[in-house]
Amino acid sequence: MKKKILGFFLAVAALLIPGTLLAQNVGRVSGTVSDPHGNTVLGAAVLVTGSNKYAITDENGAWAIEGVASDATLSVSCLGYEDATLAVNGRAVIDIVLQESSFMLEETVAIGYGRMKKSDLTGSVASLDPENLVSKPSNSIENLMQGRVAGVQITNNSQEPGAASIVRVRGNSSMNGSNAPLLVVDGFPFGDAGNLAQINPQDIVSMEVLKDASASAIYGSRGANGVILITTTKASANKTSISVRQQTTLSQMTSELDLWHDPVLMAITQNESKINAGLTPQYVGAVNANGIYYPSIEELQTTWTTNTRWEDIVLRDVPVSNNTTVQVRSSNDKTNFVASANYYRNNGVFVDDYYQKFGGKFSVDQKIYPNFTLKLGANVVSGVRNYNPGRSFNRNPIFPVYDDEGNYWLYSASDYYHPVALKELSTNVTKGTDVIANAGVEWRMFDGFTLTSQFNFKHGETVQDVYNPNVYSETGNFNNGYGKIANWQDNNMVVDVYGTYDKVLAEKHHVTAMLGYSYENYQSRSSDLTGVEFVNEALGNENLQAGNPELYRIGNGLSKSELVSGLMRLNYGYDNRYLFTFTSRADGSSKFGVNEKWAFFPSGAFSWNAHNESFLKDVKAINTLKFRASYGVSGNQGISPYQTLSRFGQHKYYYNGSWMTAIGPGYKSGTTGEGGIYAVWSGIANENLKWESTTQLDFGVDVSLFGNRLNLTVDVYDKVTDDLLRERNIAPSSGFDRMWVNDGKIQNRGVEATLDGIIYSSKDWKVGATAVFSCNRNKVLSLGNAKEAGLMTDDRTGMQYEYYGNSLGQYRGYTNILAIDKPMFVFYGYKVDGIVQALDEGLSAGLTGSDAEPGEFKYVDVDGSGTVDEDDRCIIGDPNPDFLASLNFDVVWKNLDFSIFFNGVFGNDVINTQRFGQPSNNPLRWTTDNPTNKYPKLRDDRQVKFSDWWIEDGSFVRIQTVALGYTLPLRKRLSFMESVRFYVNIDNLYTFTKFTGYDPEVSALGIYSGGYPRLRRWTFGIDFNF
């Protein structure tokens, strides 16, 4: 049909042209501009070359210019169309047909410093349309990406209001640097992905994830963890639309809290635990050293009436959250305008605990000249996090909230967890504001060449107000009241200039070249003011001067870094069949050591569009068959400013009744040991400190079949990260502990696949499905020089390792290690073979002392030495999943739409630290009457060793989202309104898992520490589109 129209049009045009051949020196020239389908083109610029005469076509595609020489040349340009140049040749009426530019013909994707046709891609780039994700409210887009992109693992392990997500692209590859991908919003590098609170997810129109080296190398020393490019919304051509979106979310816990509701059972087990440890039981009907009367078990059974339901006091009944967005978008031939406002409030499960923010955004693209567009944008977000520290819903139920005089009832002078006291007396509020502004130009200087320049600025600041009351909080009690104001602000400025040349030469040679420059300046400052020893606490931290004047504490800091970069990308395509890309970036960073200021990151890729070969062209079933290969290097900066400089330390020393400043060699750069109680001393310079570099090889295939109804993308990759940033030990006789060096190697290999297809479609029906699969194998290849790194050796296997993460108080030791030839973060500990049933059995198992007694864990003497000791530890679990998989179904029937999304993580181990010691499992304890092999006896002073007894399978499949929506089209009935959409979204409907804790979705180290059950969120939404 379209071809016929085009043919007709061309015929008419051909007839008209000869008729306009009139010799004329100077005169009026007019005509129309249309596309090959005969549709008129609005807003095309017709320019008389070499003059400043031009015209813009109107809605009929018509244009006219006075005083045009008959031998003049016209150049015509319009967004979305190929430029055209033609001679006037004395004509007075010229009707011009513009060819659609390749950009309009096919979906383009952002690739960093430019966009590209999807079919021209050579690297591994995943695109995501967030439209379907925003039917539930979220603080940040990352949260919503979970399970949607192959090769990207999103972990939402915290349910706190405003909490960040953990984002990993193709596994973890750094020990000490960041493992989060770089987040780039409309060309502006924001930093680590995880909590993009500044951008309302509903303002995002597309997202791309750059996964392989060919794609991410353009971000050089920040590209190693992958890059997420976010593009915010623009108005559709020549359209004004207003939408109002309202979401209300009700949350409920998916399971019961694990609490003592039977005080008698609680008391029996607690007494038993004390007695088994040789201590005096508490529930004996006596006053303890703090003057607290603990009833006997008999009293609890009979006369004791207090049974406080702390959870009813501490938790909200139903946390209700809200998300409202108003968006205005409008465009005409010159201007594209978007304004958007958002109010978001997320109420946490604890009373008075919430996060809320207001956001406003606008952007204008103004075509000042036909080939020159100015882009301006601004974004302001202001958020408040009110943290309620009164969270102890697991307090002893036999005690009341208040004593007889109405004071908060405390166990002892060091009872710092009274939830009502903390809620009422303490303050912990963080207010933040972010302002983002950008200005840019896009200048099409001549045919095929565009110069783009962008200036971005981001200012962020937070102010935290803290008051910790005397008596009821630890810090407050230690300081007789503790008030603090902490300020933080950062400024980030980025200037990019790059030129792009894009031309098809001799029909078959498509060349795109981009050459650019980028400068980034980042600075953050902080200051804090602390007052202690308040005479009167009524003002909280409002008046810090009311504290003891001799003990005012102040602190300030500044961190500054600069990055200068040169970038380049060359694409060459031959006949749409063979595509080559070469990308490189040179980064110079102030953070690197003086001898290593500049880094160079090259990459190359090749792809073959087999479907364009003659032998496949006629195979109707195959729409796309594309093979890709890429190889390259990208980096991870990881270093903080000033880490390469030598520096002195500073401390306060009490002398002659006052605090004096003390300064000298060695500064405390961190802490170590259980609970971080030991200082780490640094200060020796490393002038050779540099980035981590990741070399990645990727092979991929893209297949589309049956009229693009079935699409499959598969990638395999092998990436090796070298020069890992780590701290090496220094001989302690130097007076220093550590210094930063580049030493170590980690590998990630994997396969990822996305399959989506339209299962059924008809006039009224559309059924589609998307399956995403990711599988990553992580392996530590080297941890650096064993002695310098202080690696330990497993005597039995010779495995070299070091501890990772924090020592867990419960086990008085570390649980995770980095070990050579093993995945990162594997669990290292003892094995348990049931429970000791008789002393002889315990002793013969190699246990000693009280550990050998009946009811104790029967640790396995793995090395057969006859005693259970540290040498019996071995790798007992792996928190890395075997694979991730998700499945989404969409069903549309007329105006009704339904989707269900399953998200699964498989084969990961989780340490369930709550497997014993909780109300639900304590009663299952070993006793002489219940000689179970599953649980040990209760014993207060047991030194629990970390063992596989605590490890559970963390696999789960979650019905992550179920959404049902109805769109009511109103255009026919109401002139002012397009449509109304109603929907319900159930987040986290149900989880299938063998894990016995609340929820197995935990951080990368695989440590589950209780908390509260995962929330099921019911979102009721209504969208008005005008």
């Binding site: 003057g291 002892s412 230690f478 009490y654 000298g664 001989a731």
Partner: protein, 508 residues
């Protein structure tokens, strides 16, 4: 028009590039380094205080007792103590090279040394008042000697750093040839310190003066003299003469306890007053750690009290003050330094250092007993470190590094049974409610009696282990015997931590 625009834009872009043009050199912000420091008197003082600051960290301050008492029959660890503590207590020597406490003590000794070396490097050439300059430099020499002294007693020969470390290349110092060389550095530094330091007009808690340097030089001479006299392995091969060193010990101790010019320190007649946290400037305290409950972090304030006190339900309890009716409050503790019951029972009857300074009962505010030993108080605990003005866990407890009574006993031991020696020992015994020492003892018996007196006078102050070491009796400790060790040579020194031997190729 577009051409004009073109020029403007080009200009703008170039401006942007120029604006952006920068060197990538990094300038430190907000911290000092060797190049911008050591200018003023205040700089020199802050640098000197930074030396003392190092020993306040819990890695060191707690280790003083772990290495000076926990490894003997004076103290026991709690049941679920950390493995490093249990190993030290039980003399499980296999893990000593990686023992956290030993490693920390070793490391912080050197952090102190490096800070002292920084002062010794820079301060003498600073253009400041000579008296002040000498004092600061003298303090640095003292602290360097103090650290090497403690290293030598525990580890024997250790790497010697006599200049400040600022580059990786400086971090691999070798060992001295023998113990003579090792102790030579200590004696020489203390001699320099004595030369440079004044006597303070009154005690300055947290800093040392000439008296401290003299006392420590006496301590060093006495340590060596007694070690050789008692035939302790390795020490007995040292080249000095025992009598000469006893004489020098007596001489330098005498400069403190028998010297009219030294008016700053003396005996505190009131036993309880010595341990009153509010009087760190009492006459007894020649060297005391300086901590205060108004500090921000542990080390600035002290939690040492909680190491000694048992866990008593997390509450506030009260203690009786000597034989008075006065009661003082204290927080409860962590039961980390548990009094060994045999040791507790070994005090002579009527020794007030047991009856008053070791608590076997705690009370509530009204004076009623809330816990007692034996019973719900798990052990009788040392109360030398109690701070009644505690804020939560924060206290002003200041560990005792050198008391006048220690110097008096050192003098007595070195000088032998002289009248002055008897006078000093008897003062200490009488203050503790005991009668005079048997008169007319032989030199050997007198010295043994003084060393025995030290056990009780300096109990829980990180002393007993070193008296056992220098008299060749560490192998008699119950835990050592339980390990089947019968030779003093086998417990003579702790091994140098493996982290040092792994990273320092010059130790072999």
């Amino acid at each position: 028009m577009i051409a004009a625009m073109k020029n403007k834009i080009t200009a703008l872009i170039f401006a942007a590039i120029l604006f952006a043009g920068c060197s990538l050199e990094e300038y430190p912000y907000g911290f000092y380094s060797e190049r911008n420091y050591y200018k003023t008197t205040a700089d020199a003082e802050a640098a000197t205080l930074y030396i003392y600051d190092a020993i306040n960290y819990i890695e060191y301050s707690r280790a003083i007792v772990f290495l000076g008492g926990m490894n003997t029959d004076e103290l026991d660890p709690k049941g679920d103590a950390t493995p490093s503590t249990k190993d030290l207590d039980a003399w499980s020597q296999n893990n000593f090279r990686s023992n956290t406490t030993l490693g920390n003590f070793f490391k912080y000794s050197y952090i102190t040394i490096n800070r002292a070396n920084a002062v010794i490097k820079h301060v003498p050439s600073m253009n400041i008042d000579a008296g002040i300059r000498n004092r600061f430099t003298g303090e640095a020499y003292f602290m360097r000697a103090y650290s090497y002294f403690n290293l030598a007693r525990n580890f024997g020969r250790v790497p010697i750093h006599m200049s400040m470390v600022s580059r990786l290349e400086d971090t691999q110092a070798g060992l001295p040839e023998n113990l003579d060389e090792m102790w030579g550095y200590i004696i020489s530094d203390l001699e320099d310190a004595i030369e440079l330091l004044p006597y303070y007009a009154k005690p300055e808690p947290g800093r040392v003066d000439k008296a401290a340097a003299q006392a420590f030089l006496a301590k060093a001479y006495l340590y060596l003299a007694s070690a050789k006299a008692y035939g302790v392995p390795q020490y007995s091969e040292m080249s000095f003469s025992v009598d000469d060193y006893y004489a020098k010990a007596a001489q330098y101790a005498g400069e403190v306890v028998d010297n009219p010019e030294q008016k700053t320190y003396g005996f505190d007649p009131d036993l309880m007053h010595i341990y009153d946290v509010d009087y760190p400037d009492g006459p007894e305290h020649i060297f005391i750690m300086s901590m205060d409950r108004t500090g921000e972090t542990e080390g600035q304030y002290s939690k040492i009290s909680k190491m000694y006190i048992p866990y008593i339900s997390g509450g506030t309890v009260y203690l009786k003050q000597g034989d008075s009716d006065k009661m003082i409050a204290t927080h409860d503790g962590w039961s980390e330094y548990k009094t060994n019951i045999t040791f507790y029972n070994s005090y002579a009857a009527g020794d007030l250092r047991k009856d008053w300074l070791i608590c076997k009962e705690v009370y509530d505010a009204s004076g009623a007993v809330v816990a007692a030993y034996p019973g719900s108080l798990s052990y009788p605990f040392c109360r030398k470190y109690v701070d009644p003005g505690f804020n939560g866990d924060k206290t002003s407890t200041k560990p005792y590094l050198l008391r006048y009574s220690d110097v008096a006993l050192m003098y007595a031991e070195a000088a032998g049974p002289t009248a002055k020696a008897y006078e000093l020992v008897n003062y200490i015994r009488n203050r503790a409610g005991l009668g005079d020492l048997t008169p007319g003892l032989s030199v050997a018996d007198f010295r043994a009696a003084v060393i025995r007196e030290r056990v009780y006078e300096l109990a829980f102050e990180g002393n007993i282990t070193y008296d056992l070491r220098r008299t060749g009796r560490l192998h008699t400790v119950t835990a050592v015997q339980e390990q089947g060790i019968t030779e003093e040579a086998d417990v003579l020194f702790y091994p140098i931590p493996s982290i040092e031997t792994d990273l320092n190729p010059n130790i072999k």
